[in-house]
């Protein structure tokens, strides 16, 4: 089980790195998906190795998938909007929320 958890940790870190460093907004969204998947792996792994009495962990994973999908939809819509307003989707275009 430790391996699954470790895998999830690494995946999460990679996603985090992506979120922190990608200039492209869509890239950030993709990195976020990675992080979601890392979390899901944890849920399922715990479900199997620690609390196998039922499928609660998988249930949660299912909901996370749904929420991630919703998030992706809205995120992408925002990206489109950004593109329309700034003719670009890089994050440094949208750093207006300062001072």
């Amino acid at each position: 089980m430790l391996f699954y958890l470790s895998l999830a940790a690494v995946l999460f870190a990679v996603g985090l790195f992506g979120v922190l460093t990608r200039r492209n907004t869509i890239g950030i969204l993709m990195s976020l998906e990675l992080m979601f998947n890392a979390a899901n792996i944890n849920f399922v792994a715990f479900n199997k190795y620690v609390w196998a009495d039922g499928l609660i962990g998988q249930m949660f994973a299912v909901f996370i998938v749904v929420v991630a999908a919703a998030e992706a939809v809205v995120g992408l819509a925002i990206v489109l909007l950004l593109y329309r307003n700034w003719q670009g989707i890089d994050t440094d275009h949208v750093s207006v929320m300062k001072w």
């Binding site: 990675l34 190795y49 998988q58 919703a70 925002i78």
Partner: protein, 177 residues
């Protein structure tokens, strides 16, 4: 499965490698392709973890819908799909450090926890002791849960999806001139 088999290792390597590609490749389109690979391998991991339904859902939703949506978005928004400009921002150094530290922290946490939390009876970490057994019919159980215990979240999530859909439409449509 006391020890992860070779399948796990292959899947893990593929997952991590494709994930790294997702965050590092310069071409965003390539990134999307790498994401698809990554998601596939995660689906494999699900199967290893006896979550067949989840694996199927992963493939259907992520690979079939989300990733395709991403590609659509890339196509729609950017004419740089093929251009290879620098895709990372200026805080890449700090980001790397933080991410690595984060990763290290989490790994350390996992192993330290494994060491620290020891059951008095068995002398091993108590999270290594499995309570109960997984139901054999994975899909049927999940369906039952959805109709019984998770009725309310299920409904709420459908509303959430609806809201997300409407929100997306509202956000993305062209404003009337």
């Amino acid at each position: 499965m006391a020890e992860p088999g070779i399948v796990f290792w292959i899947l893990a390597v593929v997952t991590v490698a494709s994930a790294v590609m997702v965050v590092t490749l310069k071409n965003i389109f390539h990134c999307a392709l790498a994401l698809i690979l990554c998601l596939f391998s995660v689906a494999g991991i699900y199967i290893l973890l006896n979550a067949e339904f989840l694996a199927a859902a992963q493939v259907l939703i992520y690979v079939g819908a989300v990733a395709i949506l991403m590609i659509f978005a890339i196509m729609l928004t950017s004419n740089l799909a093929s251009k290879a400009i620098r895709q990372s921002n200026e805080q890449v150094m700090v980001g790397t450090v933080v991410s690595v530290l984060f990763c290290g922290g989490m790994l350390a946490l996992i192993y330290l926890t494994d060491k620290a939390i020891v059951s008095e009876e068995t002398g091993v970490a108590f999270w290594r002791q499995v309570r109960g057994t997984l139901p054999a019919d994975n899909v049927a159980s999940l369906g039952g849960y959805l109709m019984t215990k998770f009725m309310l979240p299920f409904e709420v999530v459908s509303v959430l999806l609806l809201a997300a859909m409407i929100g997306a439409i509202v956000l993305a449509r062209k404003e009337k001139a």
